[in-house]
Amino acid sequence: MAFSRAAAADDDALLAAFALGDESASAAFLRRFQGRVYGLALSIIRDQAIAEDISQEVFVRAWRAAQSYDPRRGTVLTWLLTITRNAAIDAMRARRSIPAEDEILDHLLHATLDAAPATEDLALNRAEVQSALRFLQGISRPQARAVVLATLGGCTAAEISRLEDIPLGTAKTRIRDGLRRIRQHSEAAHD
């Protein structure tokens, strides 16, 4: 199979070409990241149509903000997913209610806490995905569940309290301590 130069470019170079408005680079950029952007939007908003709208908006925002991307602050994927999460949380606030969709949340928990890194990530050597999974799987299971539901599921502490059938204070503690532990793991990994 032949790959275009855009498809083979590293993330930073691809983002730079995307920012310049090159159409083939835009297509390659989309193909590389759309699954992850859409996946995060869907896990937070739990509605396919709205997740699609959010994901489209994310790429438009990314295109507008691409010049401000600073590789010293994180990878392109993390930058893009931060935009996605913010957009999805904004959309979530605008909705009266988010469907519980336990199936989506169960899938989210299973995919992040039980599954091994996906084959395609290994093939692409996408280190940040493997690191994130390793960080989550390196903290206590209750903390990891709370962190996943809060960060990737968009759940509030009150919702996690109900879902996990734990007191609100316990839910808050698990989120807080889980995020701190993960940050420590992340920092240690970079040292």
Binding site: R36, V60, A132, L179
Partner: protein, 222 residues
């Protein structure tokens, strides 16, 4: 004055997760700009959050997602066909010619290539106002036709037969036999190019595309 209030960690968690109420969020954000200790705690939480995000499961985007985004990022600058006699002098705009080459002249040219995306379609002018673009050897290599763009009447020129790297000077020949160089284009890829010129009121009799040596490569005549 030094602020004595400090948000507790749960409020900082709420802010990092985007769950803080708007009024609380504003107050904490202001505080974080002044308090290094609280800023440090918040940054830790934010870094923890960002470290987790790549773990989000990948999900296949719906069919048409890619083309939908590309259409928003690279909208085809399409002009609607309209019956209009093209025997008028063209005026030119600056800009927007990075794909198709340098333009010269004055006021409003759109340029794009057919085939660069699935959304881009060739304009379909009415046949009676269309003139074929024919080479000296009699080969049809495109057409010119009248239409309407966002700014008013335009002349649409398509070229199928050019080869990548070839440059052409577009020369207008008017009813009073005067001539004017309307544009200069370079074809960068072996695919159909579409150029759009704004019209003025002067009558155009013929369009000529001159090659690098100044010879007429092809022309459209009404």
């Amino acid at each position: 004055m030094t602020e004595t209030w400090h948000p507790d960690t749960d409020l900082l968690v709420d802010l990092a997760l985007g769950h803080a109420r708007a009024d609380t969020s504003d107050r904490i954000t202001r505080h974080l700009s002044e308090c290094r200790a609280c800023r440090g705690v918040y940054d830790e939480l934010q870094e923890g959050l960002e470290a987790v995000l790549p773990a989000a499961p990948e999900t296949t985007a719906p069919a048409g997602f890619e083309s939908g985004v590309l259409e928003r990022l690279h909208p085809p600058q399409q002009t609607a066909p309209a019956p209009h006699a093209p025997k008028t002098r063209m005026t030119l705009a600056a800009a927007a010619a990075c794909l198709l080459g340098a333009l010269i002249g004055g006021t409003g040219v759109y340029a794009y290539e057919r085939g660069t995306s699935e959304q881009t379609q060739s304009p379909a002018p009415e046949a009676e106002h269309t003139a074929e673009l024919v080479t000296a050897g009699g080969e049809t290599v495109g057409w010119a036709a009248a239409g309407y763009g966002a700014e008013g009447a335009v002349l649409i020129l398509t070229v199928d037969g050019g080869s990548a790297g070839a440059s052409y000077t577009c020369l207008g020949v008017f009813d009073d036999r005067s001539t004017e160089v309307l544009a200069e284009w370079t074809i960068y890829e072996d695919k159909t190019s579409i150029w759009v010129l704004e019209e003025s009121a002067d009558s155009l009799q013929r369009l000529e595309l001159l090659d690098d040596s100044g010879d007429v490569w092809a022309q459209a005549e009404w």
